[in-house]
């Protein structure tokens, strides 16, 4: 436990000692702010139209029209952001040779991996928290449901955690951060669009493939539903990613 914490603190420090953390936070804040502004503007426009028609047209719901849309967009931004958070985790240690320090210290591989993954997850969570300011302002002018907001963020965290675990794994495969980042992006994107097959195909294989898509499992969270099958899906993806990382670290020694 102490070892995990040691690695975790070192990783978090290195995010904040380099421009990575600040750049990601600033640009994410900009994008999230823009999306939020657009959805609020659309919502205001629609609600004034709805008022003109005597409130007959459709039910106006902040959660449905602003928050859910925003959360979906944040999960897409995550897709672009996550490779930048994980690319250096192991690739950098391999390139600079510091991996030799870690693996010859009395620390278990899994402790190194968990420390690194948790640090990346923490940065991801703090980046998400920035969008919380925008969401918070909604409470000043209306009264949206709190539950779907919380489940939505939980979903973002689980989804981010899964992709971060996969990114961590990919980072152990190379010494080159750009390769790590691009491969992570490609795999994440693929996991994203896997459900597209279910748009034209209804056979069992298509259902299985569609089930593996990370977006399919995010939708319920955005709607305020916590389904155990979605939680289990993300947790097993996290477990799978970290397990593969451990195997890969072990094989580094046999191949190195």
């Amino acid at each position: 436990m102490t070892n995990i914490l040691t690695i975790y603190r070192k990783e978090l420090n290195s995010y904040f000692n380099s421009p990575i953390a600040y750049m990601v936070m600033a640009l994410f804040g900009l994008l999230a702010g823009y999306f939020f502004y657009v959805y609020v503007a659309i919502f205001v426009d629609r609600s004034s139209q709805s008022q003109m028609m005597g409130g007959q047209s459709f039910p106006m719901d902040v959660n449905e029209w602003v928050i859910r849309q925003l959360l979906s967009n944040l999960s897409v931004i995550g897709l672009f952001m996550i490779p930048m958070l994980t690319m250096r985790l192991f690739a950098e240690e391999k390139r600079s040779g510091t991996i030799e320090l870690l693996t010859t210290s009395p620390v278990r591989d899994m402790e190194i991996i968990l420390g690194k993954w948790l640090a990346a997850l923490t940065l991801y969570a703090s980046v998400l928290a920035i969008s919380g300011f925008s969401v918070g302002t909604l409470f000043l002018y209306g009264n949206p449901d709190v539950a779907p907001i919380l489940t939505g963020y939980l979903g973002l965290l689980l989804q981010g955690g899964s992709l971060l675990a996969i990114g961590t794994f990919i980072s152990t495969l190379t010494r080159n951060q750009i390769i790590a980042a691009f491969a992570t992006f490609a795999v994440s994107l693929l996991l994203w669009v896997l459900d597209w097959v279910s748009a034209y195909e209804t056979a069992a294989w298509a259902k299985v493939i569609g089930y593996m898509s990370v977006i399919t499992h995010f939708e319920p969270f955005a709607k305020g539903v916590i389904d155990s099958k979605d939680v289990i899906f993300y947790l097993s993806l996290i477990f799978f990613g970290l397990f593969m990382t451990a195997r890969s670290m072990e094989s580094l020694r046999w191949r190195a």
């Binding site: 040691t6 000692n17 040779g97 030799e100 009395p106």
Partner: protein, 320 residues
């Protein structure tokens, strides 16, 4: 303290370490000597549990590297060829991180960090970022990192490579000062280094150990023939013909070779080699004096480690 038996490391296409066995006693400094690519780093990586061996066993500080790696890792300090530094960290911060990683308790940590910073002469740069340090400082921070948890065994891979002469001298002195408390293995391809620091030397070439002995014994063992340098001066105001003197020396029984060297003023210098197993010093001295010259210098030439090394690795190559 270290016991290696039949250690091998094979890769798909080549053998990096081939059936290596050696032992190191507690408190000794052992030099691993060999050309680049001889298998020094691979052997060290196996001892530090970074690489698993293909065959054989290695026991470090009483624990097996394969079966009890955690126990081994707790007791070793390792400085790889490139010091494992994080450029974005401050020196003090880095040493604290390594200290925690090595399992030093929170209460001991500040004291250990200042101790090693002092000992490795990096105390004055504790607040500096590592990427701003000179090569010499980096190497010393690397060394500080290796000894922070006061390990029983210290493994140093080319600790002086890439340093300037002054830094090399300082680093060597530092390593020497660490002996006694620690058992040290260091690798190098620089011969004088072994001569200067180590008591014991393991010469390794193409993955095989070609010799292992004390530095002193090794030079003696390989020196079957005697080689000496002498200085000859004429008596009084006479002058000497170098060719004539050389001829006279060649006639001395037991002398196999006479090589004239640069002469100083009136003194003629020669390198003499004896036939295998013959002692020639007495005969040479007598011959010079009997010819009416003065013998102003006579000293044995110890075979340098360099020659020993070439002799050993050279014969090895001849067998291929």
């Amino acid at each position: 303290m270290i016991k290696v038996e039949g250690l091998s490391k094979r890769y798909a296409r080549n053998v990096a370490v081939d059936n290596v066995s050696f032992e190191v006693q507690k408190g000794q400094i052992v030099g691993f000597l060999g050309p680049n690519g001889a298998g020094k780093t691979t052997t060290m990586r196996i001892l530090t549990c970074f690489l698993p061996p293909t065959a054989g066993t290695a026991n470090v500080a009483g624990y097996d590297v394969m079966r009890q790696p955690m126990e081994v890792k707790r007791r070793i300090g390792y400085l790889p060829e490139t010091p494992p530094l994080y450029p974005d960290m401050e020196v003090g911060e880095y040493l604290e991180f390594v200290g925690r990683l090595k399992g030093i308790s929170r209460s001991d940590l500040p004291r250990r960090v200042s101790d090693v910073a002092e000992r490795c002469a990096v105390a004055d740069v504790r607040k500096k970022l590592i990427h701003k340090l000179s090569k010499g400082y980096r190497q010393r921070v690397g060394l500080a990192q290796a000894i922070i948890h006061n390990p029983d065994v210290l493994i140093l891979d080319e600790p002086t490579s890439g340093l300037d002469p002054k830094q090399i001298t300082e680093t060597r002195a530092l390593i020497k000062s660490l002996a006694g408390d620690h058992t040290i293995i260091l690798s190098t391809h620089i011969l004088p280094e072994v001569d200067f620091i180590c008591e014991q030397v393991v010469i390794i070439s193409k993955g095989k150990i070609v010799a292992t002995d004390s530095v002193h014994n090794l030079t003696n063992r390989l020196r079957g023939a005697e080689s000496i340098t002498i200085g000859v001066e004429p008596r009084g105001a006479a002058t000497l013909d170098a060719a004539f003197v050389q001829q006279r020396l060649e006639q001395v029984s037991g002398v196999s070779r006479v090589l004239p060297r640069e002469s100083r003023d009136r003194r003629l210098m020669f390198d003499l080699e004896s036939l295998q197993g013959r002692s020639i010093r007495g005969d040479v001295a007598r011959a010079v004096v009997e010819s009416g010259w003065d013998l102003t210098e006579l000293r044995p030439v110890a075979l340098s480690l360099e020659e020993v090394f070439l002799q050993l690795t050279g014969t090895e190559q001849a067998h291929d």
